[in-house]
C-alpha cells in the first residue's frame, strides 16, 4: 500500500493501478459490516435490490409482500456506526403497490426520479420517485420474472421484460407501449440483462435451458444461442444448443461487458464470451441452486481480478471470475439469499434474502473498526471517566472464565 502510494506520488504509477489494487484488496476482504445496518422496513423477503447509477447512493429494494423501499446508503452523519435510513417507501398501505410479490426492481439509469418494479401480479410499474405514484403500468400475460433497463442506452429507452410466456417483450418508455416482441425461447424467461457495453445487445435466459443474445435492432430472432459445448456436442442435439442442463435463473455481464455469466439450476456457473458467444469453460465448481425464480448475481467493478458474487443458499460465494477460484464465503443470512449487488465506489456488497434482512458487507481491513472503537472508548474514559463504558465494552469481548475453574 505504501509502495503504491509512494509510486503514485512520484508519478510512476497509473492512478488506475493504485485504485484497482486498493479496491481489489478491499473487495477480497469483505466481511459482514459491524457498524452499518440497513433499516428494516418490511415483513417480506427481499427479492431484488438495485443501486442507482448516478450517485450510487440510493438503494432500491423490492419485497415479497409487494412493498418497495429506497434507502440512503451514504453516511453523512459523521458517526462511524450508521444505519441506512429509508428515504421513501411504498408501504403496505400504498394503494398503488403491487398486490403480490415484487420480483424485480430497477432504477432508471439516467435519473433517480424514476424507478421500475415488476412482480408476480403480472404488472410492470414505472414510478415517480418523488410522488411514489406509478406513472405507467404495463400488464403482461404471466408473472414478470425480471425486467431491465440498459445502463448505457442513449438512443432508445427500452425496458426488457422477461415473463412467464416464452416471448421477451420490450417496453418503450417513450411511447408507453410494448414495442417489440422477441421470439426465441421455448418457455418462461427468468432473466434478462442489457449489455453494459452495447446498448442494443440483450441477453436472456429461461427455463428452456437456453441463453440467447439479442440484437434488438433485428427483431427476426436471436443473435446467438449460447452453446455450452461450443458446437462439439457429445451426442445428437435434438433440442438445439443449450447453455445449461437446467433452467437459467441468473444472468449478468461483467462490468466491461465483455463476458456474460450465467447461473443455472444444474448448479453450474458458466462464463461466456459476450462477443463470440463461446463458453469460456471456467469451472466454478458446484454451486447449489434450487430456486425457480430469479437470482441476482453481481460482479465487482474495477478490481483485478474481478469478483463474482453469487448467492448460494444462505451464503454468498465469492469467485474469481476468470479463474473460477473460490475466494470467500460470506455468511450472515439465515435463509436463502435472493440478490446481491456490488457497490463499486466503496467496494461494499448489499445483499437481500428471505430472512428479510438487507445486509451490508464491508471491507474489513486491518480491523480498523476495532481500532476506532478502542480510541472511541478511550476518549470516552478520558472525558467522562465513567465506569460503564469500561464495563460494558470490554466485558463483552473478553473471556470471562469464572474463578471456579481454578481449582
Amino acid at each position: 500500500m505504501l509502495k503504491f502510494l509512494f509510486e503514485r506520488e512520484q508519478g510512476l504509477l497509473d492512478p488506475l493501478n493504485l485504485r484497482r489494487a486498493e479496491s481489489t484488496r478491499r473487495t477480497f476482504a469483505l466481511e459482514l459490516s459491524r457498524h452499518r445496518d440497513v433499516e428494516m422496513t418490511s415483513q417480506g423477503a427481499v427479492n431484488s435490490i438495485d443501486i442507482d447509477l448516478i450517485e450510487s447512493r440510493y438503494l432500491l429494494s423490492g419485497f415479497s409482500d409487494g412493498t418497495a423501499a429506497i434507502h440512503d446508503v451514504v453516511n453523512q452523519t459523521g458517526n462511524v456506526k450508521y444505519t441506512c435510513k429509508v428515504v421513501c417507501k411504498i408501504d403496505r398501505h400504498n394503494r398503488y403497490k403491487h398486490k403480490t410479490s415484487i420480483q424485480s426492481v430497477c432504477w432508471y439509469p439516467l435519473d433517480t426520479g424514476i424507478f421500475t418494479t415488476s412482480g408476480t401480479d403480472k404488472l410492470l410499474k414505472v414510478w415517480d420517485t418523488n410522488n411514489l405514484i406509478p406513472v405507467d403500468e404495463y400488464e403482461f400475460s404471466g408473472i414478470v420474472y425480471q425486467h431491465d433497463l440498459s445502463p448505457v442506452a442513449t438512443k432508445h429507452c427500452l425496458i426488457a421484460v422477461g415473463c412467464q410466456s416464452s416471448r421477451l417483450k420490450l417496453v418503450d418508455l417513450k411511447s408507453g407501449a410494448s414495442s417489440h416482441m422477441l421470439k426465441g425461447h421455448q418457455s418462461s424467461i427468468y432473466c434478462v440483462k442489457w449489455s453494459p457495453k452495447d446498448e442494443f445487445i440483450l441477453a436472456s435466459g429461461g427455463a428452456d435451458n437456453r441463453v440467447l443474445l439479442w440484437d434488438v435492432r433485428s427483431a427476426k430472432g436471436a443473435m446467438k444461442v449460447l452453446d455450452q459445448y461450443n458446437g462439439k456436442a457429445p451426442s445428437d442435439n435434438t433440442t438445439g444448443n443449450t447453455a445449461h442442463h437446467g433452467a437459467i435463473n441468473g444472468l449478468t455481464f461483467t462490468s466491461d461487458g465483455l463476458h456474460l455469466i450465467s447461473y443455472g439450476t444444474d448448479n453450474c456457473i458458466r462464463l461466456w464470451d459476450a462477443n463470440s458467444g463461446k463458453n469460456c469453460l471456467i469451472n466454478y465448481g458446484n454451486v447449489p441452486n434450487d430456486t425457480k425464480k430469479l437470482v441476482q448475481l453481481s460482479v465487482s467493478n474495477g478490481c483485478s481480478p474481478d469478483v463474482l458474487f453469487i448467492p448460494n443458499r444462505s451464503n454468498i460465494d465469492m469467485f474469481d471470475v476468470y479463474s473460477g477460484e473460490k475466494i470467500d464465503r460470506l455468511k450472515g443470512h439465515y435463509n436463502s439469499v435472493n440478490c446481491c449487488k456490488f457497490h463499486s465506489p466503496t467496494q461494499d456488497v448489499y445483499s437481500g434474502g428471505n430472512d428479510r434482512n438487507i445486509l451490508i458487507w464491508t471491507p474489513d481491513t486491518d480491523s480498523s473498526y476495532d481500532d476506532h472503537l478502542k480510541t472511541q472508548s478511550e476518549l470516552h474514559v478520558k472525558e467522562s471517566s465513567a465506569d460503564e463504558v469500561r464495563t460494558t465494552r470490554p466485558t463483552v469481548m473478553i473471556d470471562t472464565w469464572s474463578s471456579d475453574e481454578d481449582d
Binding site: 459482514l32 459490516s33 459491524r34 428494516m40 415483513q43 444462505s314 455468511k331 450472515g332 443470512h333 439465515y334 435463509n335 428471505n354 430472512d355 428479510r356 434482512n357 445486509l359 463483552v396 469481548m397 473478553i398 473471556d399 470471562t400 472464565w401 469464572s402 471456579d404 475453574e405
Partner: protein
C-alpha cells in the same frame, strides 16, 4: 505460557474428546458438573483448545440423537458464556447451529427422542435470548440470528423472556411466602413453648416423683447401709436397664420392692405391724440378704460370694433359729421348682415376710424363704466386702432391731484368722462342710409387675393420667416443636432443651410401659384370706394371652423354652404358694405324661390304642401269609424270593392263575328295552363285546406306585423377553428353555458349566439359522445392514455397536409398540385388505344386480 499453548497438547486433546464423549452420551438432561469443570479447565488454557472444543462439540451436535445434541448444547452454552474465541467461532457458523438446535431448517428436523428435542429447543431459545441480551451488541450475526428467529420464525422471545422473568418473580414470591410462614410458625411455636413448657416440666417432675414413690430407686433403700460401692454400682446400672417392682400388700402393711438391674437386683421388703424388714441385694457376683423382723426379733444374714456363701439365722425370744443355706443343693436342684426353707418353728403366724426370689438360668427360683414365724431373718451377703462395711450393716441392723435380737454376725471369709472360731461355729450351726460352695446367679432384667392396691391406687391413677396426657398431648406437641425448630429455627439451645424434654418424656413413657400394672379388680379386703386357702389366685386375663408364662407352656402344649432370658423377680407370697400348689395339684402336661392311657378321653390314649391295634393287625397279616410258603418248602431261595414278592390282594386273575383261558367275564345284561316279558334275541353282539372289555379289565391289575411323590419345588426361571422369568415348574427340563439349571436373581445361570454350554448352544443356533451368503445378498439388494457381519467383524453393524457403546442414551432405533403400529398391522394386513375388497366388490355386484338384474338388455349385455 502463551508460547507453549500455541501447540495443542495431544494428551489434553484426547482428554477433551473423552470428556465430550462422556458428557454427551450420558443421556441425562443435566451435565455432570465435575466432568464439565475439568473440561472447562482444559478449554481455559488457550483459545486453541476452545477451537478444538468447538469442533468437537459441533461434531457431537450434528449427531442424529437429541440427547447427544442436548448435552452438547449445554456444553456449548457453558463455553459460550465464557470464551470470546468460542463465541466468535460459534457465531460465525450460527445458522448451522440454529439448524441443529432449534430446527430452523424444516428439511432437517430434530432427531427422535421427542422429550430431549423439545427440551433442547426450548433451552436453546432461552439461551439465545440470553446471549442476545448479553452479547448482542458486539456480535452482529447473533443479533441477526436473533432477529431472524424473532421475525421470520415468529419465536416469541418476549414471551420467553417474560416467562423467565415471571418464573423468577414467582420463585421469589414463593420464597418470601415460605419465609413468612416459617417466621409465623416459629413465633407460634415459641409462644406455645412459653405456655406449655412449664406444664410439661411440671408433669415430668410429678411423674418422676410418682415413680420414685412407687418404685424407690435402690439408692434410697440402701442409704442406711452406707454401702457406697454397691449403691454406686447400682446407681450406674440403674441408668441402663432397671426394672423395679413394688408391691404393697395391705394386710398388715407389708411392702416389697424389687429392683432388678442388668447385673444386680435389690429387694426390699418391709412389713409393718410386727415390723420385719428384708433386704436382698444381689450383684453380679455377690448377693446379700438381710432380714430383720421385729416383734420377736429374729435376724438372718446371708451372704454369698463368688466362692462361698454363708447364712446366719437367728431367732430370738422363743425359739431357736434354723437357717439353711445350702447353695450347692439348691443350685443343683434346679429342676425342682422351688427350694423352700421353712422354719419349723411352732409359732403363730403374724407376719408375712417374704420372699426373695432371684432366678437362675432356668427361670426357677433357687431359694425362697418363707418365714411364717415371728422371726427375724437377717441375711447378709457380701461379695468382696470389707469388714467395715459388714460391720456397718450390722450396726444398722442392730439399730433397727428391737431388743432381744442377738446378732449372729457373718463375716467375710477373707479375714479368717481373726474370726475363724466363729466361722466354724457358723458352719456347724448350719451343717455346712466348708465355705467352698459356689453359687452363681445370673441376673437379667425382666418384666416387673405391680399389683394395684388401695395404697398406691391414687398414685397409679395420677401416673396413668400423666401417661395419658403425655401420650395424647405433650408428646405430639413436643415432636412438632422439634420439627418446627429444626426446620425453621436457628436457635440451637432451644432445640436442645426441647429435645431433652422429649427424652425425658420418652423415658417416662417407657418406664410406665415397662411397669406391668395389674389392676385391682377385687374388693381389696379379702387379700389375706386368700393367702391361706389354696385356690389359685391368678390375675384375670382377658381372652388372648400374648405371652405364655414358661411354667404354663406345658399346659398349652408348647415345648418348654430352651433358654429363657427372663427372670422373675418377685413372687408374692400368696402367688408363690398357689403356683406351687397348682403345679402340685394338677397340670395338663403332667396328667398327659403320667397316665396317658388311663383316661380314655385323652388324645394320647386314643393314639396308643390305635397304635396297638394296627400293630396287632399287621402282625396277624404277617403271620398268616408266610405260613403258606413255609409249609410248601423250606427252600431258602424261595424264601428270599418270597420276601421280595409283592403282596397283592386276591382277585379273579389269581383265581385263574393256572389256566387263564377259563376266565369268564361277568355277563352284561343290556336293558335297552324296558320289556321284561320278551327278551330280545339278538344280544350276542353286544355280549361278546362286553365280554372282551370285561376280560381285559379282569386281567388288568393296577399296582400303585410305591415311591413317594415329591412336588417340584423349583421353577425354570429362564429370563423371557418380557422381562419376567419362566414360571414353569418342570422336574428336569423346561420345554422352552431346556435343562433346568441354577439361576441367580436376574435369571442368569450361576454355574460356569451351564454358562459355557448355554453360550455354545446359542452360537450353534445362530450359525444354523444363518446363511451368510444369502444374508449378504439380501443386504446388498436392500442397501441396509441387517447385521450379518456382526458375528464376524465387530463394529460394522453400526446401530448395534452404538447401542452397546452408549447404554445411557435412549434407543431411537427400536420400533415402538404404539397403538398406531398395532392397528396398522391389523388393518393393512394382506388378508384383511383382501377380505374387505372382496366384501366391497360383492356389495357393488349386488347393487348392480338389484338394479339391473331384471332388465333384459342389461342381462344380455352383461354376458
Amino acid at each position: 505460557m502463551a508460547k507453549e499453548s500455541e501447540v495443542l497438547d495431544h494428551t489434553l486433546c484426547q482428554e477433551m474428546a473423552k470428556y465430550v464423549e462422556e458428557l454427551t452420551t450420558s443421556g441425562r438432561p443435566a451435565l455432570n458438573p465435575d466432568i464439565m469443570k475439568s473440561f472447562k479447565k482444559i478449554c481455559r488454557v488457550s483459545s486453541l483448545y476452545c477451537e478444538q472444543a468447538y469442533h468437537l462439540l459441533i461434531t457431537q451436535l450434528e449427531k442424529g440423537h437429541s440427547e447427544i445434541r442436548l448435552s452438547a448444547f449445554q456444553m456449548i452454552e457453558e463455553l459460550f458464556n465464557r470464551s470470546h474465541c468460542f463465541r466468535e467461532l460459534l457465531i460465525s457458523n450460527f445458522q448451522h447451529f440454529l439448524e441443529l438446535t432449534v430446527e430452523t431448517d424444516y428439511d432437517n428436523p430434530l432427531p427422535p427422542p421427542k422429550a430431549a428435542s423439545d427440551l433442547l429447543k426450548s433451552s436453546a431459545y432461552s439461551a439465545i435470548q440470553k446471549w442476545y441480551d448479553k452479547f448482542g451488541e458486539e456480535y452482529k450475526r447473533l443479533t441477526l440470528g436473533f432477529n431472524f428467529l424473532k421475525t421470520c420464525k415468529k419465536i416469541d422471545f418476549n414471551g420467553i423472556r417474560s416467562r423467565t422473568e415471571l418464573q423468577q418473580k414467582q420463585e421469589k414470591e414463593k420464597e418470601e411466602k415460605l419465609k413468612k410462614i416459617a417466621k409465623e410458625r416459629m413465633e407460634k411455636t415459641l409462644e406455645q413453648m412459653n405456655e406449655m413448657l412449664e406444664d410439661i416440666k411440671n408433669t415430668i417432675t410429678e411423674a418422676k416423683t410418682g415413680f420414685q414413690l412407687i418404685l424407690p430407686s435402690p439408692d434410697d433403700f440402701f442409704i442406711e447401709t452406707g454401702e457406697d460401692e454397691t449403691s454406686l454400682i447400682t446407681k450406674s446400672s440403674v441408668e441402663n436397664s432397671r426394672t423395679a417392682t413394688c408391691t404393697e400388700i395391705d394386710d398388715e402393711t407389708s411392702k416389697t420392692c424389687t429392683v432388678t438391674d442388668g447385673e444386680s437386683s435389690k429387694t426390699c421388703t418391709e412389713t409393718d405391724g410386727e415390723s420385719s424388714k428384708t433386704c436382698t441385694e444381689t450383684d453380679g457376683e455377690s448377693s446379700k440378704t438381710c432380714t430383720e423382723t421385729d416383734g420377736e426379733s429374729s435376724k438372718t444374714c446371708t451372704e454369698t460370694d463368688g466362692e462361698s456363701s454363708k447364712t446366719c439365722t437367728e431367732t430370738d425370744g422363743d425359739k431357736v433359729t434354723t437357717t439353711t443355706d445350702d447353695d450347692l443343693t439348691s443350685g443343683s436342684n434346679s429342676n425342682q421348682p422351688e427350694c423352700e426353707v421353712k422354719d419349723s418353728s411352732d409359732l403363730e403366724i403374724n407376719n408375712i415376710s417374704t420372699c426373695i426370689s432371684s432366678k437362675n438360668d432356668n427361670d426357677k427360683p433357687i431359694g425362697t424363704l418363707t418365714s411364717k414365724i415371728e422371726s427375724e431373718n437377717c441375711s447378709e451377703d457380701l461379695a468382696t466386702d470389707d469388714k467395715t462395711n459388714s460391720s456397718s450393716i450390722k450396726g444398722s441392723n442392730s439399730v433397727n432391731n428391737d431388743s432381744e435380737s442377738d446378732e449372729n454376725c457373718t463375716e467375710n471369709e477373707m479375714d479368717d484368722d481373726s474370726e475363724s472360731d466363729e466361722e466354724e461355729n457358723v458352719l456347724q450351726e448350719h451343717g455346712l462342710h466348708s465355705f467352698k460352695y459356689n453359687l452363681s446367679i445370673d441376673m437379667t432384667p425382666g418384666v416387673v409387675s405391680l399389683q394395684e392396691t388401695d395404697d398406691n391406687k391414687d398414685l397409679l391413677q395420677t401416673l396413668k393420667d400423666h401417661y395419658r396426657l403425655i401420650v395424647t398431648k405433650y408428646k405430639p406437641t413436643v415432636n412438632k416443636w422439634i420439627q418446627n425448630l429444626t426446620k425453621y429455627g436457628d436457635k440451637e439451645d432451644l432445640t436442645k432443651s426441647v429435645i431433652d424434654v422429649k427424652t425425658d418424656l420418652d423415658s417416662l413413657l417407657s418406664k410406665y410401659n415397662e411397669m406391668n400394672i395389674i389392676p385391682d379388680d377385687k374388693p381389696d379386703v379379702e387379700m389375706e384370706d386368700d393367702s391361706d386357702d389354696d385356690f389359685e389366685d391368678v390375675p384375670e386375663k382377658e381372652g388372648y394371652e400374648p405371652t405364655i408364662p414358661p411354667h404354663k407352656r406345658a399346659e398349652y402344649g408348647l415345648d418348654p423354652l430352651p433358654t429363657s432370658t427372663r427372670s422373675e423377680t418377685v413372687t408374692q407370697k400368696p402367688k408363690a404358694s398357689t403356683s406351687k400348689n397348682t403345679s402340685g395339684f394338677w397340670s395338663l402336661s403332667k396328667t398327659i405324661e403320667q397316665k396317658p392311657e388311663s383316661d380314655p378321653t385323652t388324645m394320647k390314649a386314643n393314639f396308643a390304642r390305635l397304635q396297638q391295634q394296627t400293630s396287632s393287625t399287621s402282625a396277624t397279616s404277617n403271620q398268616s401269609k408266610p405260613k403258606v410258603p413255609l409249609q410248601v418248602s423250606g427252600d431258602s431261595q424261595k424264601d428270599k424270593l418270597l420276601e421280595k414278592a409283592p403282596v397283592v390282594p386276591y382277585g379273579v386273575d389269581l383265581e385263574h392263575w393256572e389256566n387263564p383261558d377259563k376266565m369268564e367275564a361277568p355277563m352284561v345284561v343290556n336293558y335297552d328295552w324296558l320289556n321284561t316279558v320278551w327278551a330280545y334275541t339278538e344280544r350276542d353282539n353286544g355280549e361278546s363285546k362286553a365280554d372282551q372289555d370285561g376280560l381285559a379289565a379282569l386281567k388288568n391289575r393296577s399296582i400303585s406306585f410305591a415311591g413317594k411323590f415329591e412336588a417340584v419345588k423349583w421353577k425354570c426361571r429362564a429370563p423371557m423377553p418380557n422381562g419376567k422369568f419362566c414360571e414353569r415348574m418342570d422336574r428336569f427340563k423346561c420345554p422352552f428353555h431346556g435343562k433346568i439349571i441354577a439361576r441367580n436373581d436376574s435369571g442368569q445361570p450361576t454355574d460356569p458349566k451351564d454358562i459355557a454350554s448355554l453360550s455354545s448352544q446359542h452360537d450353534d443356533i445362530d450359525i444354523l439359522l444363518r446363511d451368510p451368503e444369502l444374508e449378504a445378498d439380501i443386504e446388498a439388494a436392500l442397501g441396509i445392514d441387517l447385521g450379518s457381519s456382526k458375528g464376524k467383524k465387530k463394529g460394522k453393524g453400526k446401530g448395534k455397536g452404538k447401542q452397546k457403546k452408549y447404554p445411557n442414551l435412549t434407543d431411537i432405533t427400536e420400533v415402538k409398540n404404539t397403538s398406531r403400529n398395532r392397528l396398522e398391522k391389523k388393518i393393512f394386513k394382506r388378508s384383511t385388505m383382501k377380505r374387505v375388497a372382496a366384501d366391497l366388490d360383492e356389495l357393488d355386484n349386488k347393487k348392480a344386480r338389484d338394479k339391473f338384474g331384471n332388465q333384459f338388455v342389461y342381462q344380455m349385455s352383461q354376458r
